[in-house]
Symmetry: C2
Subunit: 210 residues, 2 copies
């Protein structure tokens, strides 16, 4: 047998430990909520002594912010990939509802973190999530603005509609996160409801006059 793995450089090793801490925090907070987990618990789960934590983050608060950043990075990547799905062009609403459920299931913990800490994290974490969601709404607004019925709206109205959409999606995402494993019936129900809600909102679009 030959040793295949090279000795990792110092940077690499540091990066790995950092990842281990982030993952430990994400996992622990998925059951108890980020606010209630301790620096020592996170370190223990990451396989590291409490003092080593400080080599990577100054405080739990800073860890929280890093977690927000990483979660949204994952989510944005996934959703951009999903937008390339050819189905999405054919029927935006039906495809979006299915994509939503699929994407959330694939990244359950990231969504759970965002949904939970949005309302309850430390002030800094809350604000960071709020900002990211606003960004998300603005992105969607740009997409919406190209739709036939919407071209003539004021940009404020488009953002309003986008906000309605995103907030409803966040709610349905929360439900998918809470959903017990292996319940395709619940999954189907959530997808169906999301689809109908989006239809209802879109019907509002069509009748809107600024």
């Amino acid at each position: 047998m030959v040793a295949v793995s090279e000795t990792p450089s110092r940077q690499e090793q540091k990066g790995r430990t950092r990842e281990a801490i982030l993952n430990a925090a994400l996992e622990l907070s998925s059951t108890h909520g980020f606010a209630q987990i301790s620096l020592r618990q996170v370190s223990r789960q990451a396989g590291v002594v409490p003092t080593a934590f400080y080599r990577h983050f100054e405080s739990m608060d800073e860890l929280g912010l890093a977690l927000v950043e990483r979660s949204f990075l994952t989510l944005r990547t996934m959703i951009r990939e999903a937008q390339r799905d050819p189905q999405v062009f054919e029927n935006i609403i039906d495809a979006s509802a299915e994509v939503l459920v699929r994407v959330v299931k694939q990244n359950r913990m990231h969504f759970a973190f965002v949904a939970r800490e949005r309302a309850s994290g430390s002030a800094a974490v809350r604000e960071a999530i709020q900002r990211e969601l606003e960004l998300f709404i603005s992105e969607l607004a740009v997409v919406l603005a190209r739709l036939p019925n919407i071209e003539t709206w004021s940009s404020e109205d488009v953002k309003l509609a986008a906000g309605l959409f995103v907030r409803n999606m966040v709610y349905r995402a929360e439900q998918v996160v809470q959903m017990p494993e292996g319940r395709p019936d619940r999954e189907e129900e959530i997808t169906r409801k999301a689809r109908r809600e989006m239809r209802l909102i879109v019907l509002g679009f069509e009748a809107w006059e600024s």
Copy 2:
């Protein structure tokens, strides 16, 4: 001088202490979140020794449930009173938006508690809030079902629409709670947005076909 106040009965006194504990918990959790406050902090703020806590609640979890119950009781009472406002009959949407902002401002801490713990409390607290919100949606659905455009809908569709409404109201309520004191401009903005969102949804109603 004559002693005006009668000596309170044992029951009365117990009730007062219970209230003191509930208020202490509500106030403390408005800054740090219910999950992070300790039995000792609550007792201290209520002016009582930690052990006395157990005469009223078996655990912090039970306190949390009592807080959910009391908050929703307050909220339901206020909203039912608001429904008697004659303006509400004339123009449901515009009046509702204003009532929403006013009611939330009057009971800031109760709304803050519900909004925050909805996503992040202990499992028991979360489920209790979820259940109360479902009840609330059902109540609204009954009101909506009497509207002219909606009479013919299936009851599932009516609940769907009611859910959309309530969830959006919860979101706007969160904003009112976070709103800094003495900012009538922010208040006006939130009212205006809530109004338009509700209009957009109502337009969807009108175009809906089951």
